[in-house]
């Protein structure tokens, strides 16, 4: 039995004890506490055993909870909006209106696809200019309707292609960042898998940025950094360490606000558990943010980004 399996057994035992305690009115709190301590230790051991490169591999898994199936499980209902109203649509970046536990929101998410056919169609989640112009359009609609904006990020990066350039992908990403900073309602980003460069940050200029435990957020892929700086893609593992792209490192740098725990073997081992963990965190943050008056929300948002990485930014 490996560590993940052992953990699962312990967790089932703890759940069983809790059920017994409740059903029979027994006080098993001491036994439960011992088990929970063991669970916490084992979890820590499993997580600490993962290298940054190991997490990059987990974050990229095609079966990672993400995209349309995740949105459909997360929300009560979802109505998709299509097209940028200028030249076209993009299957790699999708969005629309949704209800989350009865609350109206607008949602934007990357679609990577699970099967090879889906992946090819969605360009592995690399959205082109149309995707980001569409995202900006949906942000504007959401602003008009004062809807909170939730973004779910999982992309290797924006698509580097001739058409993308001809349709001003750089301008589209800049426009998304600018639009998101102006949004007149709470904004929340959750990095579910790979938070790749400009394609990720275009959807991440949010009041709060959450990240799943094994997800990553980086200015460049480890392979890209390795080939530019080490002149050899074989140094990707070393680059992954240097880039400080893991959830805990990002939290320490102030790049993200909260790490959402994953099932010990990775989020893909527990789709429903991941959905529930993300939903819980999202609802909690949205309710905190919704309590703030708009001018205070915008002031805090400005402060969060204005001082990012700067000395004295801790204030």
């Amino acid at each position: 039995m490996n560590e993940a399996e052992r953990l699962k057994v312990l967790e089932e035992k703890a759940a069983e004890l809790r059920r017994l305690a409740e059903e029979n009115g027994l006080d098993l709190s001491a036994e439960i506490a011992v088990l929970e301590q063991k669970i916490a230790e084992l979890r820590r051991a499993i997580q600490e055993g993962l290298s940054p490169w190991g997490r990059v591999q987990l974050a990229r898994r095609p079966d990672r909870p993400s995209g349309l199936p995740f949105v459909q499980a997360l929300c009560d209902s979802f109505y998709e909006l299509r097209g940028d109203r200028i030249v076209g649509d993009d299957p790699a970046l999708r969005g629309g209106f949704a209800k989350l536990k009865g609350k109206r929101i607008a949602i934007l998410f990357h679609q990577r696809g699970a099967t090879p056919e889906e992946q090819r169609q969605a360009r592995f989640g690399m959205a082109s200019a149309q995707g980001y112009w569409k995202a900006r359009r949906i942000m504007k609609v959401a602003a008009r309707l004062r809807l909170p904006l939730l973004t779910l990020i999982n992309t290797p990066g924006a698509y580097p292609g001739v058409q993308a350039e001809a349709h001003n992908i750089a301008g589209a990403i800049a426009a998304c960042i600018w639009q998101m900073l102006q949004h007149p309602a709470p904004t929340l980003a959750v990095i579910l898998g790979e938070g790749g460069s400009g394609g990720a940050v275009a959807l991440a200029a949010a009041d709060r940025v959450l990240i799943l435990e094994n997800a990553t957020y980086s200015v460049i892929s480890p392979e890209g950094a390795a080939s530019i700086l080490w002149k050899d893609a074989k140094f990707a593992e070393k680059a992954a360490e240097n880039l400080k792209l893991t959830a805990q490192e990002l939290l320490a740098l102030g790049a993200v606000d909260e790490v959402i725990p994953e099932a010990p073997g990775g989020a893909h081992t527990d789709f429903q558990g991941t959905v529930e963990a993300v939903r819980g965190a999202v609802l909690r943050h949205l309710s905190e943010l919704s309590a703030l008056p708009l001018d205070e929300l915008l002031r805090l948002r400005y402060k969060r980004y204005r001082h990012v990485g700067s000395a004295g930014g801790a204030d």
Partner: protein, 281 residues
């Protein structure tokens, strides 16, 4: 490092050992041996074939503003090497080298100046400094320059020469994109005009943030303007790049810039743009 276009109309960068400054410089585009002083007088454009050489931030400032009017803003204090990054060379060492080679503290030089009598806040990026890349230091200088423009009620002018984000600062460099847009939003709310001048190269995270959202955008003839570099596009997609791809003319034809201007006319063009954006005094 001079730049030129090859037969397929793509840009090619050529490494040239610069220091100590030789008296003569060879144009890698046409092969002409040019007297350095002559090249300087011609604003680093080859007098024979018209190829554009990189312009240092200092030379760029001199070429755009009224003589003696530039006053550098005090450089901000930022955390250096926030990630403790090290590849074949440590990031600290790279920074030290870049400073020694360019005489700049960071990849952007910012200050107040007059352009044909019109007061502005000007920030000029320098490609020689780690590819003109934007990390925390560059982000902070740009923000403080925009904030100074806001306080003084002066237009903000940015000359982009940048390959994108500073890889050695990881996610913090990525987040500088949001930071500079936040400062730009404050400028917009105060109604302060912002003019961008895109030069060789204007790519990556700088173009995908502050470089693309000016009120008026001028491309220098010889600029390279694009999100992804030509090599990345070819390698990732296998697509053949059309002739003239990502040139200033391409950007104009695809609706990304308002004007394309040769280097020698840039100052005059900037003054003309400023004159319609500020009130008579």
């Amino acid at each position: 490092m001079p730049i030129r276009r090859d037969k397929r109309d793509r840009y090619v960068e050529i490494e040239v050992s610069t220091p100590p400054e030789p008296l003569w410089v060879r144009c890698e585009s046409c092969g002409e041996l040019i007297f350095r002083q002559k090249l300087q007088e011609n604003q680093y454009v080859c007098p024979r074939c018209g190829a554009y050489f990189f312009l240092s931030a200092q030379d760029r400032v001199a070429s755009l503003v009224d003589g003696g009017s530039f006053v550098e803003l005090p450089p901000p204090q930022v955390v250096e090497d926030p990630l403790g990054f090290s590849d074949q060379v440590s990031y600290k060492e790279r920074l030290g080298r870049a400073r020694a080679e360019t005489g700049l503290s960071e990849a952007v030089l910012a200050g107040t100046a007059n352009v044909q009598g019109i007061p502005v806040v000007l920030a000029v990026m320098d490609f020689r400094f780690i590819g003109g890349s934007m990390g925390v230091g560059v982000g902070e200088i740009l923000c403080q320059a925009m904030e100074h423009a806001l306080q003084e009620g002066k237009p903000f002018v940015l000359v982009v020469s940048s390959g994108g984000a500073r890889v050695q600062e990881g996610v913090l460099s990525l987040l500088q994109m949001v930071k500079v847009v936040a400062a730009r939003e404050a400028l917009a709310r105060a109604g302060i005009p912002y003019i961008a001048i895109l030069t060789y190269p204007s790519t990556g995270g700088v173009l995908a943030s502050i470089g693309s959202i000016a009120d008026l955008t001028i491309a220098e003839e010889g600029a390279l303007i694009g999100f992804a570099g030509p090599r990345v596009i070819e390698q990732t997609t296998g697509e053949r790049l059309p002739p003239g791809f990502q040139t200033a003319k391409f950007a104009l034809e695809h609706g990304m810039v308002d004007a394309v201007v040769p280097r020698a006319k840039l100052r005059e063009e900037l003054a003309r743009a400023l004159s319609v954006l500020v009130d008579e005094r």
